[in-house]
Amino acid sequence: MKLGFLSIDPGTILFTLANTLILFLGLKHFLFKPVNKILEERQTAVDQTLRDAEDARDRAETAETEYREKLDKAKEESAELMRNATRKAQKRSDEIIAKAKADAAGIMQQNAEELEREKRRAEHELRGEVSGLAVMVAEKVVGREINPEDHARLIDEFIDSVGDVQ
């Protein structure tokens, strides 16, 4: 038996409604629930990742600023150190040079004094010898003994008249 082409059959309507309800519940349970759950989980994961990335970026920015400050400070310090060291070195070298000059001057003076002393002594010795020689010569000439003490003035005059040693 067949129904008419455009028949309205209550049985088919009831069965179709029931079948549609079954399909609705089935799709909801087997397709929409699991897929939506996964989509939500992924959304959560993506949000979390984004948050993490933002945090990391913030941290990196903070760290960068910090490091830049530290670097600037370090540069300043090193420059300061360099300046100090240069100044100290300059000072030290100046001191050394001054001391060397002073030392050199002292040594020169000392040498000059020594020389002078040496000269005097030599002069003195020479004078003694010459005076002895003169006495000897005079004794030979005069033929008698001459007392050096008595004739010191005479001898000196002689020497002076003979001429300067220098």
């Binding site: 038996m1 067949k2 129904l3 008419g4 082409f5 455009l6 028949s7 309205i8 059959d9 209550p10 049985g11 088919t12 309507i13 009831l14 069965f15 179709t16 409604l17 079948n19 549609t20 079954i22 399909l23 609705f24 089935g26 799709l27 909801k28 087997f30 397709l31 929409f32 699991p34 897929v35 939506n36 759950k37 996964i38 989509l39 989980e41 992924r42 994961a45």
Partner: protein, 259 residues
């Protein structure tokens, strides 16, 4: 004289009849005659296929490294969810599985005719059931947002003389939906039947034992009458359902917060 007996199945259609679905069994429940027709059996097959597909597509769902199956399932769910959200608004999102159900039911119910059986959707009762659901939801939405009084007052709006016309328009909405879908699919199947029948007769007229003329042309026409028309009608049906139901209530932003 035919030396070879051509099997009957290869001889093409011998007759063309336009009728409804076969009644397999009739139950007598409290004096009501409840028919169990071939449409219902085909519905079960269609539901089984859809649910099996849904079940297989959603095995081993993962948040990362999605498989192709999962990608298909996600795309389908997102597409239909976006369609419902765009057409009906956010408060109707719970309705998405129903729209998906009717869409799949309609498409597969129409496409099952490709296997040589009656299309589920060429049974007017089936379309009438879905249209009835739409009608009930339209009415429920109107009552929910306008109250019983507001709903009844709508029938005598703007003047009481309009009452019959308003009732007609209210009833014609689901009736037109059901008839449009039914007419397209059933009409398409009749046209395809006529074409097959005509080409088979033409083949016999020029003394061909096997109706070879039925090869070719029907396949091309079937692309329209079976594939395109099936998708179009399913889509039109769910679009009309969504538009009519969401228009029965206020626009989304004016809706009072429920749930």
């Amino acid at each position: 004289m035919a030396i070879l007996a051509i099997p009957k199945v290869l001889q093409g259609p011998e007759e063309l009849s336009v009728d409804g679905p076969k009644v397999i069994k009739t139950f007598d429940i409290f004096g009501f005659q409840i028919n169990f027709t071939e449409t219902v059996v085909l519905e079960w097959i269609v539901i089984g296929v859809i649910l099996l597909a849904a079940f297989l597509l959603t095995r081993n769902l993962k948040v990362r490294n999605v498989s192709k199956r999962q990608a298909i399932a996600e795309m389908a769910v997102e597409a239909i969810t976006n369609l419902v959200r765009d057409t009906m608004g956010k408060r109707w999102l719970w309705f998405t599985p129903y729209i998906a159900s009717v869409f799949c039911f309609s498409i597969f119910g129409s496409l099952i005719s490709l296997f040589g059986v009656r299309a589920v959707t060429s049974d007017f009762s089936v379309l009438l059931s879905w249209a009835a659901v739409t009608f009930i939801l339209i009415t429920a939405t109107k009552i929910r947002y306008g109250g019983i009084g507001g709903y009844l007052k709508g029938f005598v709006d703007p003047i009481p003389v309009m009452l019959p016309i308003n009732i007609l328009s209210e009833v014609s909405t689901p009736a037109a939906m059901a008839l449009r879908h039914f007419g397209n699919i059933a009409g398409g199947s009749i046209i395809m039947g006529l074409i097959y029948y005509g080409l088979a007769n033409l083949s016999h007229m020029i003394h061909l034992q096997v109706p070879v003329l039925t090869v070719g042309l029907p396949a091309v026409l079937s692309l329209y009458f079976d594939l395109f028309s099936d998708f179009m009608q399913a889509f039109i049906f769910i679009m009309l359902t969504m538009v009519f139901i969401s228009n029965a209530g206020p626009a989304d932003d004016e809706a009072p917060q429920t749930n």
